[in-house]
Symmetry: D2
Subunit: 275 residues, 4 copies
């Protein structure tokens, strides 16, 4: 076979296709760019994500926004399901990957899912040509919560510092911010109903990222749509939060915490067959 291959007689159709990286040549490449250049040109973590996730050399303000999103979603305390399951596994003496995975697998529609949904809802709102008031109305008629809107205590007067940062970043760096601005206008409508119905951090990231996909000039409209449907906001959250999950594993191992068993008096047992 090696001999036949050398002769070039045999051309086998390959079982796999891959388009993001290549380690066969003299230098590892990410989407065609040699790793030396990737580092040399200062693409940063955001730029590497651009190459490996989106197959693009993204502009600097785009890359920095990706890093901002990672930092803002990196952790949200030990009580949420992701951190919790990682902590429980770590306390069971499990290795880093097993523990982090145990937590990652809780990320989904209810935990971390607001980003994906917010992107879908608001880009739909913008593309339907609705006014902010009409958008809020429509959502109410569909009996849907507007994802990315609402906070337990924060309001326009007592803003969430993270959203302030996002707003500043968008204002300063984005050429156009159709979706994000639409979100800010929706916020004006909803906060009249209740002061805490502000654009929250999940909403802020999702809408700003939607703008980057749609108006940075890096993607066709179809690509932008595909990435939102594919769940790239989810990818961003998963990658951001993995950072924190690793931290929680190290934290519990550092403190040599022992096996956790949930207190039985916090559980209602209804174990008769006819319940």
């Amino acid at each position: 076979y090696a001999w036949a291959k050398k002769l070039g007689i045999i051309r086998k159709a390959t079982n796999f296709v891959s388009t993001i990286s290549d380690d066969r040549g003299p230098e590892l490449t990410y989407c065609g760019m040699p790793i030396g250049e990737v580092i040399g040109q200062g693409l940063g973590v955001g730029g590497v994500i651009g190459l490996l996730w989106f197959r693009k050399r993204l502009p600097d303000y785009f890359c920095r926004f990706i890093e901002l999103a990672i930092m803002l979603t990196a952790d949200h305390g030990p009580a949420v399901s992701g951190a919790h399951n990682t902590i429980v596994a770590a306390r069971g003496g499990k290795d880093l990957i097993s523990s982090v995975v145990s937590g990652m697998l809780t990320i989904g529609p209810r935990f971390g899912g607001a980003l994906n949904e917010a992107a879908k809802q608001f880009t739909w709102g913008v593309d339907s040509g609705l006014t902010p008031a009409e958008f809020v109305d429509q959502m109410q008629k569909k009996k849907l919560l507007i994802m990315g809107i609402g906070h337990k205590v924060k309001s326009l007067e007592n803003p969430d510092q993270r959203v302030v940062i996002l707003k500043n970043y968008v204002k300063k760096n984005f050429k156009t911010a159709e979706v994000f601005n639409f979100g800010c206008d929706v916020e004006k409508v909803t906060t009249k109903k209740k002061a805490t119905l502000i654009l929250n951090v999940d909403g802020g990231i999702a809408l700003a990222f939607s703008d980057l996909l749609r108006s940075s000039g890096c993607f066709t409209p179809q690509e932008a749509k595909d990435y939102i449907n594919m769940g790239c906001l989810n990818a961003l959250f998963v990658y951001g939060r993995s950072l924190g999950l690793i931290g929680h594993w190290m934290d519990q191992v550092r403190m040599k915490q022992d096996l956790y068993r949930h207190p039985t008096d916090d559980i209602t047992y209804l174990t008769t067959k006819d319940v």
Copy 2:
């Protein structure tokens, strides 16, 4: 290539070797036995485990013991880490596999690990020719708990029904039960120290299974040793408990339970840098 292959000129060394099943022929085989025969001869789940895990047509009493072990380890309530993480993931709206996996990944040295360790400790004890009293002594000197010994409330007078079943099963069906009997003799020594230091259900399963590996005539001494070191007791526990984890997922989905967030007043936050 197809042409060359047909000519039989080319013999490619394969990248994979597999010895447990084959789906290429007219009938699927498990370790060489056609599936029709597997079912027809009534091997049962235990017998299929024999073929696929151990590559043996195990005798009936061995197969039935495997099923007994699965049933005894299938679940241990919702409070233990495995069930807990599965429940938390299920309440996050995650699919069956993600949720079950989130729980499975907590099984390890501290949760479910007693079986593997008990098998290692007691077979070592037997092979070293120690008396039960010497074994207890040696373990104490090494400052090791004897795995498989001890229960919070049960004692010889108030026995664990599961261990009673195991003892009966072994007495009735095993030709020899060197390790299991050694365990019962060790129990006589430890219960003199404290009434609750009985052979527990993990110990019972582990020691009985060690006997099956060593004295059923199905394995060479080396094979028996290899399987214990490889962690086949762990495999049994993992497979048994998966049954319960799936049950916990169905349970939470059936009850439409919502996202869980651990109460923050049950967490001590020490988040200053110099702690």
Copy 3:
């Protein structure tokens, strides 16, 4: 707090509800039945699944069918995605659970998914009062493959032994088999088109199980529907196949197989940015 609890003054609403098992009392119970009884009455693995998944003491022929399904789905060779990923992880030196999980996570719409879909399609067919011919027509109009129908080489004249076993089991043990029989009638229509369009093993298990849910008298029509939608066929396949995945892990570890790296000549690299 302990003192207050004793006084019974404080009644905390619990954070968890669980209905399948209880380890708090003198004896572990599965859905209210003490484990001693579970074993004593010979429920078997199938019966334990009845208690922990469905909260029912299922009749014997139902329990035995569950075990039959586990055995028939336990493995399908090393080439399918589940076994493949488990094998690759095992060859990376990873532990049992990590490796099995790596394979389990490939089970989904395309691998193992035929069971769930077959159950949905055929129960819909039966409940819509369609004739087999109308059902085949409707599916063709929707441009959908009929899940559970079709085999690469098997035909009515050269039957799959597993389907033969299923047909015999159903005929002998089921009081009614509305869905299964509908499947057999559909087979008569499709095999006229092409001899290999038989009811396959996935279809056979799915349809028979649908009948058990609908006509065993153990479930209300709503419960039967809920369990099919919840994906209990998937649970059965996941649990069945886990048995084989564990086997593949043991197989590779036993043979001390080394790290796998996919041959690069089987991969087409398209790593320029403008592809």
Copy 4:
């Protein structure tokens, strides 16, 4: 209970301790630092890792090194086990997290494990006061490969660009680089044996990071040791490579690749019982 709690009578010992983040107050904090400050001060992804993994405000050159390591380990083509299993799961139609996890679980002693081992071997070498030649000798006597040394084609004359970057970074930014320099000296010894026995990229990252832990002044010697034993190099690799795994998932979904089944002619089947 709420009433009793308010009265402050009841002080419950908490079940969890957590030291890395806090979402309870007016502003989310990472290790005590408000998120607004984290972003405002430009800590970057590396700085957030410092806070959440190591509980430290790491100096800038330390943070940038972490990011360099993430970028260098982000991907290594589609052929390695991690990417491979992610690709196979993605082609099974599985969601982002399931697919990424399927790949992550292959990272271990044989895939990605060189970093952890290199850190342990070389810090041991330095702390034992061995000369580079003695170190090489000792390893040879123990019949151990020196982890972090060796490349298939690269040599001192034809260097790996990534290692050049690492060397430059260390030279320019590290005050002391005891372990890294020891590695370079070991390289001088080994390349005399064979030109390709250079310090490779895994070695370079591992040794430089060991120096940061030991000599940046951020950690006590005990902490440095603990982090190396705990596997923080592994954490870095896992986090870096997750970036690429997400990319491979997006790549396959983008190309709508179908279910993969490994070619059976690449598998040797040895499925008779007596093999």
